[in-house]
Symmetry: C2
């Protein structure tokens, strides 16, 4: 299916130098996608020229005179920067000119502007940030990762419904399993928030697995793991820290002396295969779920390889019809409740 | 300093088969420690005979006729098993016959019985579970890991004070740094719980670093990381899951074919040095802080190598005078507040 995605080319730590080559690489691999690159026209044209010939007619440049800074307060970005590359990319989704948008910019600003411009889907109270993580069985989806520090049980239920629809729409998986993150799997474990959310999920038509624990994320016990934004953010950042520490230790051990360096050379193809398999760049691209439009957030530090994955995530979501599926599901729930 | 530790030899997945050899190994390496092994006399004597000659006069056996099951409800264990090996070991601490006790048994039961038998230190409302984790700089201490699913800001402050006293008492580190786990380092980030706790910590005489994020745990940004038991448990279990997944992937890559297996043989000493460095068994032994006695919890699945680390943790804590230091600190705070 032909799909057009708006790309905020100025966001992130590296801006157009990363976003434009990433867009070109996706374009060359996917004949039915086109992009609107948003940012300073001069910068974008320079990067496009540098990137070599682009497929005819599948790239447009939309000039935006402003940029949201990485540390800018969301409210300032929302009110004061109506011509920022981030805002214009989201506006293009709202106007129906793009089926999705991607940004590596300031998360808070992206969330605030998306919510203001696009609004929420009916029946959804709050947006949530969902991402993919690798597991022993393949991958899982986890949300929320920081959009909501305090969540009522109803919000956790909505997160589960949205993400289950995302998985079934994008991956074609019927009735994906949903786990609720807790500190034990027995019904008596946890705080009131998760106990009540579990009750809501059990009586919903979700394929609810029950409680899962932190290690179940990477075991791949369920297709979806639901938690509040505080817990999800800590789980994700703790994982990043642990992975970095282990990578540093492994590098140090292989660099210890002449023998270990030689062993490292022999083992290099294996170590590279391992690194490739767990490469966090392959999991770049978090979906802001619950909005009336598809918005994908890339890591600010993403390189072109990683940013291309975030673009692909936006393309897949736009093709999948996930928004209509979430809206239908919420309407059915509302009708049953009435 | 001579110290005597009571060991619940029947707890954990493996019981006396693991706990007795672990005790013997610690005894052989530390001439100023003695143990009271608690459990079924017959079992303990058999394991002691199997373990070879024990240092003269430094091992006593105390018979206990009951055992707390790993899945037993804490209330049942507390009320119904007054002669369990766990209960007797804790009683020995209460009676002053042992300076500390160690158990690999049921965490909930250990906490409930310890709290009932030993009581809380003055000024401490709730016990917390603290453990060591490896970091890029050495190690850090994190608490709470699951004793408290809902914490008021005052509890988080008390956790910080207790763990800072533990670090200064055991490691001789003056004014260890304390970080409060949050989803961002700016003051506006997080929920009300952490914002208010940060305010309390800032105005206390803790060496308060401020907010830290999940990745700061393994970066070793602070000596102590404070969080509530829900968040801490998720962070710890998520780390366990990630580490297991990475270990599995590494094994799979080295086992892929004849060439990778050969590379694995060449790299084996390096991989072993790496595994040794991050071996979670070295970090076994969580302290139940806040009680009027030293209680250390070992992983239920610990082998003898791991259980010996938990015993050493108990020995170090008993030698350090940490309980008196926490009590003094709380009395000083109380006096200043009055």
């Amino acid at each position: 299916m032909d799909v057009r995605v708006a790309i905020d080319c100025m966001g992130g730590d590296h801006g157009a130098h990363v976003t434009v080559p990433a867009a070109l690489s996706v374009l060359r691999n996917d004949p039915s996608v086109s992009f609107i690159l948003v940012g300073r026209q001069e910068t974008l044209e320079r990067e496009l020229a540098r990137g070599g010939p682009a497929p005819e007619g599948r790239i447009q440049v939309r000039h935006a005179s402003q940029m949201v800074e990485m540390d800018e307060a969301p409210a300032t970005a929302l009110r004061g920067k109506k011509d920022s590359s981030m805002r214009v990319a989201i506006d293009l989704v709202e106007q129906g000119e793009a089926g999705a948008c991607v940004s590596a910019g300031n998360t808070g600003a992206l969330m605030a502007i998306s919510r203001f411009v696009l609004g929420m889907l009916p029946g959804i109270d709050r947006p949530a940030i969902a991402t993919l993580l690798p597991t022993l069985k393949g991958h899982t989806h986890i949300l929320d990762l920081g959009a909501n520090v305090n969540c009522a049980p109803e919000h956790l239920l909505q997160f589960g419904i949205m993400c289950a629809e995302l998985v079934s729409s994008v991956e074609g998986k019927q009735r994906p399993t949903v786990g609720l993150l807790n500190i034990g799997v027995e019904n008596i474990k946890g705080n009131e928030q998760v106990k009540q959310a579990a009750e809501l999920m059990r009586t919903s038509d979700l394929n609810f697995h029950g409680f899962v624990e932190g290690d179940d994320i990477y075991k791949g016990t369920t297709d979806v793991v639901v938690c509040d934004g505080f817990v999800g953010n800590v789980a994700l950042k703790t994982s990043e820290g642990l992975a970095q520490m282990l990578a540093t230790y492994l590098r140090e051990e292989f660099g210890r002396n002449a023998f270990t360096r030689l062993a490292g050379l022999v083992a290099l193809p294996v170590i590279n295969a391992f690194k490739d398999r767990v490469d966090h760049r392959r999991y770049n691209g978090a979906s802001l779920l619950g909005l009336r439009g598809i918005v994908v957030k890339s890591h600010g530090s993403a390189d072109a390889f990683a940013f291309a994955f975030a673009i692909q995530r936006a393309v897949e979501a736009a093709r999948s019809g996930v928004l209509a599926h979430i809206a239908e599901r919420m309407a059915a729930i509302h009708k049953n409740a009435a």
